[in-house]
């Protein structure tokens, strides 16, 4: 039997709306209004950092030189630190009693909101560096815009992260240039990396309803508004590196909506193993 509407309990939301309309007051949004979109946006920021940080940390102990090993670990540490801030804020605003760890360790792949680019396997060191550069050039523009966010918490995290990411970009751009304009082999590897990854760059600049809501609330920029600056940075670096971006390449998408590559499932299987195998244990 279908359940019948409860005849005795008044519809509180409707009553409240009626009362507000009657009172003549202008509706003031609650501090965390637009919550689902805001949480979604923060997860996108945090998940990019988490998954890229995971990938970079896979190099620990395996990098081509000790100096590089140490530099990569610093980068992974920055990204994990940023992820803790973004996901921590997402959890606060969500208000369901979760924390950054719960978001990182207890969501399944479909609930992750990172770009496909950052979950792609490390490949050779050229793929890792090129992926880093293409993402850094986007990340820095996003963070610069977020420093002017209407939400002071977002602006504060962005200001801290921007300093770190400015250094990531300086490093990754310089290495792309040096290896592009290095030996025949290093150039060939960097070109192959660029060709392979280019199809995953378009997703960074796609706007959707979440982005529109964030832009309307002046919390975050529309991703499409960052594209021109990104293209300028990338074109200058690739030119100096004597590398050429493919033209008219197919662009993959889906990460922002939770439709990922097969790789993310394996990342999470590894990352979340202890939390899943021993539910509720404290570490």
């Amino acid at each position: 039997m279908p359940s019948l509407p409860d005849m005795t309990t008044p519809n509180l939301t409707a009553l409240a709306g009626q009362a507000l309309a009657d009172s003549g007051h202008v509706a003031v949004p609650a501090p965390d209004a637009g919550q689902p979109e805001f949480v979604e946006f923060l997860q996108r920021m945090g998940d990019n950092c988490l998954i890229l940080g995971h990938r970079v940390s896979e190099w620990c102990g395996h990098a081509p030189a000790l100096e590089e090993d140490i530099a990569l670990a610093n980068q992974a540490l920055d990204l994990i630190g940023q992820c803790q801030l973004w996901l921590g804020l997402a959890a606060d605003i969500e208000g369901k009693g979760r924390d950054a760890d719960a978001l990182a360790y207890l969501r399944d792949a479909g609930a992750f909101r990172n770009l496909l680019l950052v979950e792609l396997p490390n490949g050779d060191f050229g793929v890792t560096l090129m992926r880093q550069f293409l993402f850094d050039a986007f990340h820095i523009e996003m963070l610069r815009a977020l420093k002017a966010s209407s939400d002071p918490r977002v602006a504060e995290i962005a200001a801290k992260a921007e300093k770190e990411v400015a250094y990531h970009l300086e490093r990754s751009a310089d290495l792309v240039i040096r290896l592009g304009d290095g030996t025949d082999e290093s150039r060939a590897r960097m070109q192959a990396a660029l060709t392979k990854l280019w199809s995953y760059t378009g997703e960074m600049f796609l706007d959707d309803a979440v982005d529109q809501a964030m832009s309307d609330a002046r919390i975050a920029p529309l991703p499409s508004s960052l594209q021109a600056a990104w293209e300028k940075t990338v074109a200058a670096v690739l030119d100096e590196a004597t590398l050429a971006a493919p033209t008219g390449a197919w662009q993959h998408k889906g990460g922002k909506k939770g439709i990922h590559t097969e790789h993310l499932g394996y990342i999470l299987a590894e990352m979340q193993f202890l939390q899943r195998a021993y539910p509720g244990a404290k570490w």
Binding site: A65, E67, A71, N74, Y167, D174, R178
Partner: protein, 94 residues
């Protein structure tokens, strides 16, 4: 051509430091990368430090005499400090 990166000597002037001090060495293909590597290796990215790099081969030395380098790890990574971990008194020094 040898692919071994040359050795560089690293000198750092910290936020409260007076003169640049020798903190150690590292390998890098050129001066610019030596500076960047020094930021990552010897300051763990503490800001406000000035770094000099000199190719080890370019140093002419008299008889060496210098005090041991002591540098603070990055302040932003609190877990690098032993006091971050609460070890019970009964355990004694660790």
């Amino acid at each position: 051509m040898s692919s071994e990166w040359p050795l560089w000597e690293i000198f750092i002037r910290g936020q409260h430091g007076l003169n640049h001090r020798h903190v150690g060495s590292l390998h890098a293909p050129d001066a610019e990368m030596a500076i960047r590597n020094a930021r990552d290796v010897y300051t763990r990215r503490n800001e406000g430090v000035s770094i000099w790099v000199v190719r080890s081969n370019d140093i002419t030395a008299s008889s060496p005499s210098e005090k041991g380098p002591l540098y603070d790890p990055s302040n932003s990574k609190v877990y690098r400090h032993p006091t971050f971990y609460d070890i019970p008194d009964e355990i004694g020094h660790m």
